[in-house]
Symmetry: C2
Subunit: 201 residues, 2 copies
């Protein structure tokens, strides 16, 4: 464990702030809701933080929403090194895990030790999905592209040949974080199928 001397503490923190600017250049599979360009991880993370504020009432009682927001701001930072993985690509998801752990070591390791542990802990909590906070955060992360695709004539579902059956597996993850948002997501899927923007099976 390295210890950052006091006088190097603020410059080390600033170095981390500069490093994570790169998250603005990591592109996701889905587009902005108007379809104009692909979304990047940084603006996606902001949107999820806002969703936690707006949809917070649908989290289980006692959920610490401030922790949910912090987790969502941090959750994609490892993709600076590891890149984005399309959630319907199973093999890539497995290979991704090792790359993300190495990325977490490097990027969170730029911070003073106590902050390394805090931010890495938020990321691990999100990935493990064992706490109500992590399950709600993951639900929002899964709901966001459904909202985008629903408002963009199927969006990345159409481009990548995703079916309603596959999307319904993600709806189950939403339901585990928030039953009300799960019901809402299922309704979005039903409407998208009815409009011909998603194939049934």
């Amino acid at each position: 464990m390295t210890t950052v001397p006091d006088k190097e503490r603020l410059p080390a923190q600033a170095g981390f702030v500069v490093e994570i600017d790169k998250l603005k250049r990591v592109l996701r599979r889905n587009t902005l809701m108007d379809g104009s360009r692909r979304e990047n991880d940084a603006e996606h993370s902001w949107h999820l933080g806002m969703m936690a504020m707006v949809f917070g009432e649908y989290a289980p009682e006692g959920t610490d929403l401030d922790r949910v927001i912090a987790m969502l701001l941090v959750h994609d930072i490892v993709e600076i090194d590891a890149g984005d993985t399309f959630i319907y690509d199973t093999l890539a998801v497995e290979l991704q895990e090792k790359a993300e752990r190495a990325a977490a070591d490097r990027i969170f390791g730029l911070l003073p030790a106590g902050q390394t542990a805090t931010l890495r802990g938020l990321w691990e909590e999100f990935e493990e999905r064992r706490t109500p906070e992590a399950r709600f955060a993951k639900a929002l992360d899964r709901l966001a592209p459904m909202l985008a695709n629903h408002h963009n004539e199927g969006g990345s579902w159409v481009r990548h040949g995703v079916t309603a059956r596959q999307v319904m597996e993600k709806v189950q993850i939403i339901r585990e974080g928030s039953p009300a948002l799960g019901d809402y997501a299922a309704e979005l899927v039903r409407l998208s199928v009815a409009r011909g923007h998603l194939t049934p099976a």
Copy 2:
């Protein structure tokens, strides 16, 4: 005051979430830290939320950092209608205020009434800069482009002919939110002048 019926509550909230996607298309004057393109308000807001987490120890004792983060996620949403204003353009800043109030009415008004008040309150608190939370949030908002310009050979300072004297006025705003970050910002200005990336007066 309109009241959103219960069954329209979640769709109204989703409508707000869809509407604020537009913040990803509002461009700022400064670029990403690598200079590759202009930064947008949504990714900027994410970056500020992260800065609040990382630099939180430099806020005055007792500052509610969760409130700072919420304020930073919300603070630029009015620019969806009102656009971004360059902080060194005094006349534009004055004209901007009226447009931003109208934008706040429209955009936060998409939400159920209680949430309209909460989010609009966060925006107003940020603008008024009377609480320690708002002063610290504003300090981070001023520090971010200094970090970007410092790491990008002067960046928007060079392009818009901004002088060190003008930047030092913004350093004072940083100091009011956080003396330690104010000192750090002053040091960035001194270094940028020494490197020829910022003219002294």
